[in-house]
């Protein structure tokens, strides 16, 4: 994993996203912390999980991280007070989470900290920037892909995707799932500034909208997926160029559209970012091969993958084979979290 640092060099905010629990996300973070020791101060925070997931954070998935003295971190007050570093309070943020206000602190000694931040994009961005202005050289945001988190790695300049044997017992499935995730997360950004502006206007108001050739647009209120697919199909007129969809874009929605029309050809479906795409490989392929396009408003810049060949359920894959296969499938650098410390 030594080379991972040189990959990160150009970026000031980096997210580490796990595809599952136990894929070694924390190991990656610990590795980076260790390798940057004495070089520059890091900033750390994490994308919080809302509501019912709180227990998940407190009880099972405690991202306890051993940090170096000088590290700046943003975490909920309850977790902040639990850390065993000698802690300095730098700032209170006024941002509240179920575990208290987010506090920006500084470790005055080495030791363990527990990180749980806000769950909203704009707030994570705000906190990352505050940590940078308080002296952090690079900010790492710990996150996960889930329908429940609203925040997405698109708020950071670069993203590390963590995957591994925990995904599936089948070697091929792990490769396939990982490759699909990479494909969906790195979905191409819409480049046309006019379109982006209009899309943001639509998203500010409703969950669905249509952009026309003459750059006029229409907002539509929808309540259910079924509703959405019906309205989309009805509105796929010749003069529509973009369909803007807020929130998750699912297989079900795509299936309904594929079933009812072929007018999606040469039209672009715009979603907020790649984490909103919950699509199967086959549906996605049918759609794109028959001329449909999906683009995002905020791109995610995946710079590398990390893999954990060991599963917490006891099985393990051949690490070399996994590395080789994945590298060739995704066309990105892949690192083994357990190897080359």
């Amino acid at each position: 994993m030594n080379n991972i640092l040189s990959l990160l060099e150009p970026y000031r905010t980096i997210s580490i996203i796990g595809m599952e629990k136990n894929v070694g996300k924390t190991t990656v973070l610990n590795h980076i912390i260790k390798k940057t020791r004495g070089k520059f101060p890091l900033g750390l925070t994490s994308i919080g999980r809302d509501g019912e997931d709180v227990d998940l954070v407190t009880n099972t998935e405690k991202p306890r991280i051993y940090v170096e003295s000088g590290t700046i971190y943003a975490t909920a007050k309850e977790l902040f007070l639990k850390g065993d570093v000698t802690k300095e309070v730098l700032k209170t943020t006024g941002i509240n989470t179920p575990m208290g206000e987010v506090i920006i602190g500084k470790a005055l000694s080495d030791g363990y900290v527990e990180i749980g931040g806000p769950s909203v994009n704009a707030l994570i961005k705000q906190i990352s920037n505050e940590m940078l202005s308080l002296g952090a050289e690079k900010v790492f945001v710990d996150g996960a892909i889930s329908r429940k988190t609203m925040a997405s790695p698109s708020i950071t300049e670069a993203t590390i995707l963590s995957t591994g044997a925990a995904l599936s017992k089948s070697f091929d499935k792990v490769i396939e799932k990982s490759a699909l995730t990479v494909k969906l997360l790195s979905t191409e950004k819409e480049r046309d500034e006019n379109i982006l502006q209009i899309a943001n206007k639509i998203l500010a108001k409703t969950r669905l909208g249509f952009i026309y050739k003459d750059l006029n647009f229409k907002n539509v209120e929808v309540t259910t997926v079924l509703d959405a697919s019906k309205i989309i199909v009805e509105n796929l007129k010749d003069y529509v160029t973009h369909i803007v969809v807020k929130g998750v874009f699912t297989d079900k929605l795509l299936e309904e559209i594929l079933k009812s029309t072929n007018k999606y050809k040469d039209k672009t479906f715009l979603v907020e970012d790649g984490t909103k795409l919950f699509l199967s490989s086959e549906k996605f392929d049918i759609f794109t091969k028959s001329g449909g396009k999906i683009k995002v408003i905020e791109p995610i810049n995946i710079i590398c993958l990390t893999i954990n060949p060991k599963s917490p359920f006891g099985y393990e894959f051949d690490k070399e084979k996994l590395l080789y296969k994945l590298k060739n499938t995704v066309n990105l650098p892949v690192f083994d979290v357990l190897g080359d410390e």
């Binding site: 902040f80 000698t86 300095e88 506090i103």
Partner: protein, 494 residues
């Protein structure tokens, strides 16, 4: 409600004014939430508050930049009341709370400088320098906080040990030895936490000794924040300090209602302020529909209320005594939806007014009362109310479209209305322009109130009917009937 219920406060435009208060701190918000009108025996307190507000208004205009600085400082203030309460209960404050208290104290000192510079001597903010010294034991004053080594030799020693072992952990590569070292570190961490707790206990006790300063300052900051917000509204609408008198007279010159003013301004229309002089007893306002009688009553009620709450009033001049109650009765949909008829709701409220009037001196505005019942009975009910209330020391102001309510000893105001307008010419203009006739009438309507001695209602209802294009035959019949009616009345009177 002796000073209007929430729905009525909304109706007269009080809520609109209060929503404009730009309050920066939760201390100030609490004052707003618990606002109460001054009682008659508290006249000196009210006068003092108004004088202080006057001082802030005057100082504000001369020191805008400094007040901006004050507002920025207020915005940064965190509500630490909960921590202070915990502290006074003998609980131990945590690092984040101590951090917040330290920052509160730092901003407190800045505000203290601001206030001293402005010479606002009635804001008696006390210095919290001592607490800053305790929470900042090192030389440089920083807005951050931790349990400093300077607090205890023992802590310093423990932390040194901790650092040493952390160094060892860092260079060690053998996982087993790392585990042993980490266990050892954990023991030191526990010692560190124990010593930190001891220190937090002492710091909390030190703060507890100064709780009276915090409590004093919370109140002063609340006052500063709230007064500043009031002063800014006063300046925005050119308000004036009301003169609180012992006389039985209410005087308003060019009073306005901000909600109506802003609404009209947005539509590009002009607003007519209201001037009126009320004596004890009944004052009757008459005038045609569309003449703004309701707005006038609301404006008076609103400004009286604001005065009682210690605000400047929206007028060029205002004079009134402190009152025991202020009532405003109009068609109010809320009570109607409770299953009462409009009239029923009015009567129930009127009972409350009548009870109050027997016991104290207050103000009651009755807007077109009994409009919703049959006109003959309605007329006599209004006449009876006016006559009965006229004998009390309270101020009752009744707007009505009934003719002949005014009796000797009552004051009568009339909306000038269309009296001075040439109806024929206006009618031609309406026909010619083909514009919205309602808008044109509004343009020509003179909303001012004039005090009159003759108790004759102008025929503006008929004029408006003409202008709005009611069939001429109907107008003619109506005119005839009115003439006959007036003749009959004269015969009855003679």
């Amino acid at each position: 409600m002796r000073f209007l219920d929430d729905e009525q406060r909304h109706q007269v435009g009080l809520e609109y004014v209060l929503n404009q208060l730009d309050i920066k701190t939760s201390f100030g918000l609490d004052i707003k939430k618990n606002m109460k009108p001054y009682k008659r025996k508290e006249i000196n307190l009210l006068k003092k508050e108004l004088d202080e507000l006057e001082e802030i208004v005057a100082t504000y205009n001369k020191n805008k930049l400094l007040f901006e600085e004050i507002e920025e400082n207020l915005l940064k203030l965190k509500d630490i009341r909960n921590s202070i309460k915990r502290c006074s209960n003998g609980e131990i404050l945590d690092e984040v709370e101590l951090f917040e208290i330290k920052n509160f104290c730092i901003i407190n000192e800045k505000l203290l400088k601001n206030i001293n510079y402005l010479n606002l001597s009635f804001l008696e903010l006390m210095s919290l320098e001592e607490i800053i010294d305790i929470l900042n034991p090192e030389d440089n004053l920083l807005p951050t906080f931790h349990i400093y080594d300077a607090y205890s030799e023992r802590l310093k020693e423990i932390r040194k040990q901790k650092k040493d072992i952390e160094k060892k952990i860092f260079i060690e590569t053998d996982d087993k030895i790392i585990k042993i070292l980490k266990d050892e570190r954990l023991k030191i961490v526990i010692q560190e936490e124990e010593e930190e707790l001891n220190i937090k206990k002492i710091l909390s006790q030190n703060i507890k000794e100064k709780i009276f300063i915090f409590e004093n300052n919370f109140a002063v900051i609340a006052k500063l924040d709230f007064f500043l917000a009031k002063a800014k509204i006063a300046i925005r609408y050119n308000s004036v300090k009301p003169i609180i008198t012992d006389n039985k007279e209410i005087v308003f010159e060019n009073a306005i209602n901000p909600e109506v003013l802003d609404m009209l301004n947005k539509k590009g229309k002009s607003y007519t302020p209201v001037s009126i002089q009320l004596k004890s007893g009944s004052t009757i306002i008459t005038g045609a529909n569309m003449g703004g009688k309701s707005v006038s009553l609301k404006t008076l009620t609103l400004n009286l209320l604001l005065g009682h709450f210690g605000f400047f009033v929206f007028a060029e001049k205002a004079k009134f005594p402190l009152l025991d109650f202020i009532y405003f009765i109009s068609d109010d949909l809320q009570s109607v939806s409770r299953g009462l008829s409009t009239f029923g709701a009015e009567i129930i409220k009127l009972k409350e007014v009548t009870e109050s009037i027997k016991r104290g001196i207050g103000f009651a505005a009755l807007d077109e009362i009994a409009r919703g019942t049959n006109p003959r009975e309605g007329f006599y009910i209004v006449k009876a109310i006016a006559r009965y209330f006229n004998d009390f020391s309270s101020f009752t102001i009744i707007s009505t479209h009934f003719d002949g309510i005014v009796e000797n000893g009552m004051v009568h105001y009339q909306v000038v209305g269309l009296k001075k307008v040439n109806i024929e010419a206006l009618k031609r203009k309406i026909n010619l322009n083909n514009r919205n006739s309602v808008e044109l009438i509004q343009e020509y309507m003179d909303y001012r109130l004039e005090k009159i001695s003759l108790s004759k209602v102008p025929k503006d209802a008929l004029n408006i009917s003409i202008l709005l294009g009611l069939d001429e035959k109907i107008i003619d019949i109506a005119k005839k009937l009115i003439n006959e009616g007036e003749k009959d009345e004269k015969q009855v009177e003679s």
